[in-house]
C-alpha cells in the first residue's frame, strides 16, 4: 500500500513536469493553430544552453535560468518572426513540415556541437534530498518541479482569461482576420507567444535535465509526452493539459513498477485507452 501511494505521488510530480512540457505545445496549437514538431528538440536545446552557461560561469542550474530564460525568449521571438510566421495561417501541413525539418536541423547541430554523449545538469545534493510525510518519502526536487509547474499553469491561465494579452490570444485563435481589424498585430503577437513558450520550455528543461540525463536525440521522446498531455487533456484547455500530463506521469511510474522498462509503454496505453473512450480528450472546450 505504501509503495502504491509513493508511486502515485511520484507519478503526480513527474506528470506535473510533463504538463509543463505540454503547456507550450498547447498554446501554439490553441492560439496559432500550429503544431511544432521541434518542441521536444527546443526543450533539449534549453537544457544544453543551461549546461553551457553553468560551465562558463560556474553557477548552479537554477541560477543559470536568469540567463537561459531571457535567451530562450529571444530565440523564440526570432524563430517565430523570421521563420514560423512565413507558414502560420496557411493550413496545418506547412508548419508541420517546416518544424519537422527544424527538428532534424536542431538535433544535428546539437550533435555536431556537443557530441552524442548524454549529459545531465548537476544540482548538488538538492537532487538527492527528500523528507518523509506520513510514511511516504517525497523528493525535494520533484516537489519543487510540481510547485513551479502549478504556479506557471496558474499564471498562464490568469493571463489567458483575465488580461489584455489573453483577450488578444483568444481573439486571434477565434478569427485572425477580424483580430487584425481591432488592432491585434497577429505576427508580432505570435512572436511574443513563441518567446513566452520558449521561456517556459527553458524552466521545464532545467527541471528535467537535473532529473534525467539528456542527449541531442532526446527531443522526440519529450515531444511525444508533451503531445500526449495536450491531446489527453483536450485541445484548447490549459488545465486539461495539466491533468493530461499528470495522468501520463502516474501511468508511467505504475508501469515502471510492473517492470522497469514498461513505464513509457503504460503511458501510451492509458493515452490510447482514454482516446478510445473520449476521442476529443478529457476536457475539450465545448464546441460553439
Amino acid at each position: 500500500m505504501q509503495i502504491a501511494i509513493e508511486t502515485l505521488v511520484g507519478g503526480l510530480m513527474l506528470g506535473a513536469l510533463y504538463a509543463l512540457f505540454g503547456l507550450g505545445l498547447s498554446l501554439s496549437l490553441g492560439v496559432m493553430r500550429m503544431i511544432n514538431i521541434a518542441h521536444g528538440d527546443l526543450i533539449v536545446l534549453g537544457a544544453y544552453l543551461c549546461s553551457v552557461i553553468m560551465q562558463l560561469l560556474g553557477v548552479g542550474p537554477f541560477l543559470s535560468l536568469i540567463l537561459v530564460v531571457p535567451l530562450m525568449f529571444v530565440i523564440g521571438m526570432l524563430l517565430q518572426s523570421l521563420l514560423l510566421n512565413r507558414v502560420v495561417g496557411g493550413g496545418t501541413l506547412s508548419p508541420l513540415l517546416l518544424t519537422f525539418g527544424l527538428s532534424i536541423v536542431l538535433q544535428n547541430v546539437l550533435q555536431e556541437t556537443f557530441s552524442a554523449d548524454t549529459r545531465s545538469l548537476q544540482a548538488g545534493d538538492l537532487a538527492l534530498r527528500g523528507f518523509h510525510l506520513g510514511g511516504v518519502s517525497i523528493g525535494l526536487l520533484p516537489l519543487l518541479s510540481t510547485v513551479v509547474s502549478v504556479v506557471i499553469f496558474a499564471g498562464t491561465n490568469w493571463l489567458i482569461n483575465g488580461s489584455h494579452l489573453g483577450r488578444q490570444a483568444r481573439a486571434v485563435a477565434d478569427d485572425p482576420a477580424t483580430a487584425r481589424l481591432v488592432g491585434v498585430d497577429d505576427r508580432n503577437f505570435f512572436a511574443l507567444i513563441t518567446g513566452f513558450i520558449l521561456a517556459v520550455i527553458a524552466i521545464a528543461a532545467v527541471l528535467y535535465g537535473i532529473r534525467t540525463p539528456f542527449a541531442p536525440s532526446s527531443g522526440p521522446e519529450r515531444l511525444l509526452y508533451s503531445f500526449e498531455a495536450v491531446v489527453l487533456g483536450g485541445l484548447g484547455n490549459i488545465w486539461g493539459t495539466f491533468i493530461g500530463g499528470v495522468i501520463i506521469g502516474v501511468a508511467q511510474l505504475f508501469g515502471a513498477k510492473v517492470s522497469s522498462g514498461l513505464g513509457p509503454f503504460f503511458g501510451h496505453l492509458v493515452f490510447l485507452a482514454t482516446l478510445l473512450a473520449r476521442p476529443d480528450g478529457l476536457f475539450r472546450r465545448t464546441q460553439r
Binding site: A173, R180, V182, G183
Partner: protein, 230 residues
C-alpha cells in the same frame, strides 16, 4: 479626406476592382450600393489593408497609406465593421469591447458611455458574444469599432439578416456617431435606406463606379439601371 485613386484590387488572379476612385470627407456619410459581387466589400477591405494595394492607391489627409496593415490603419483612424459581425466567440461582449478599446485611439467613445446610451448592452455584457441575437451582435460589432474612436467608420452590410426593429436600432447608433462628426461609409443592400441615410452615394458595378452623386438628388430609375447593369 479618405480616398482611393483609380485603385485595382485582386484576389489571386481574379481582379475585383478596376481603377476605382472614391472619396469621403470628414463628417460625411457615403453609401456604396451595388449588387452582390460588385466589389463594395473589396473596396472597404482595400482601404483598411485587408486586401493588398499599391502605396498611392489609398490616401488619407494627403498621405499615401495604401497597403499598410489593418492595425496601422486603425491607429490612423480608419475602422471597419466587417460583414457578418464577426464577434469573437471566446470573448464576452465586454471583453470584445475592452480588446478594441485598448488597441484603438482614445476619444469620446468609451465603453461606459456606450453602455449608458444603449442599456441593453449593459444587460448582456458578461454573456459570450455568440449568445446574442443578430441585432444585439450588430450593436456590439459597431460599438467595437466605435470604441477605437475612428475618424472614418466603414460599415459592411450592417443591416443584413436583421429584423426591421433591429435595423432601426443599429441605425440609431450610427446616427449618434455621425452627429459627432464621424465620417461613415455604408455598404447597404437596401437602396432606399442607403440613400436616405447618406449625403452622397456611389453605385458600383463589376468593380467600377457606374453612377455617383448626391443621395438627395438620386434618380431611382438611373440608380436601378446602374445597379442591375441594364
Amino acid at each position: 479626406m479618405l480616398s482611393t485613386d483609380s485603385v485595382d484590387a485582386y484576389y489571386g488572379l481574379f481582379q475585383a476592382l478596376f481603377g476605382l476612385s472614391f472619396s469621403v470627407s470628414p463628417g460625411e456619410t457615403v453609401a456604396l450600393i451595388g449588387s452582390n459581387g460588385a466589389g463594395k466589400s473589396t473596396l472597404l477591405k482595400t482601404i483598411v489593408g485587408a486586401v493588398g494595394v499599391r502605396r498611392d492607391g489609398v490616401r488619407l489627409d494627403g498621405e499615401d497609406v495604401g497597403g499598410d496593415s489593418e492595425p496601422r490603419q486603425l491607429a490612423r483612424g480608419v475602422a471597419l465593421v466587417p460583414e457578418g459581425r464577426r464577434l469573437f466567440g471566446s470573448l464576452t461582449v465586454l471583453e470584445n469591447l475592452q480588446l478594441a478599446a485598448r488597441n484603438g485611439r482614445s476619444g469620446p467613445w468609451t465603453i461606459p458611455r456606450l453602455m449608458q446610451e444603449f442599456p441593453v448592452m449593459k444587460e448582456f455584457q458578461h454573456r459570450p458574444s455568440t449568445a446574442l441575437s443578430g441585432g444585439q451582435q450588430q450593436l456590439v460589432a459597431i460599438s467595437r469599432a466605435l470604441v477605437c474612436n475612428p475618424s472614418y467608420l466603414l460599415c459592411d452590410e450592417i443591416s443584413l439578416g436583421l429584423s426591421p426593429l433591429a435595423v432601426n436600432e443599429v441605425y440609431r447608433l450610427l446616427s449618434r456617431a455621425r452627429s459627432e462628426g464621424l465620417a461613415v461609409v455604408l455598404v447597404e443592400q437596401n437602396v432606399t435606406r442607403a440613400l436616405a441615410e447618406s449625403d452622397r452615394f456611389y453605385c458600383i458595378q463589376k468593380g467600377r463606379v457606374a453612377l455617383s452623386g448626391k443621395s438627395a438628388e438620386a434618380d431611382h430609375a438611373k440608380v436601378a439601371q446602374a445597379y442591375f447593369g441594364m
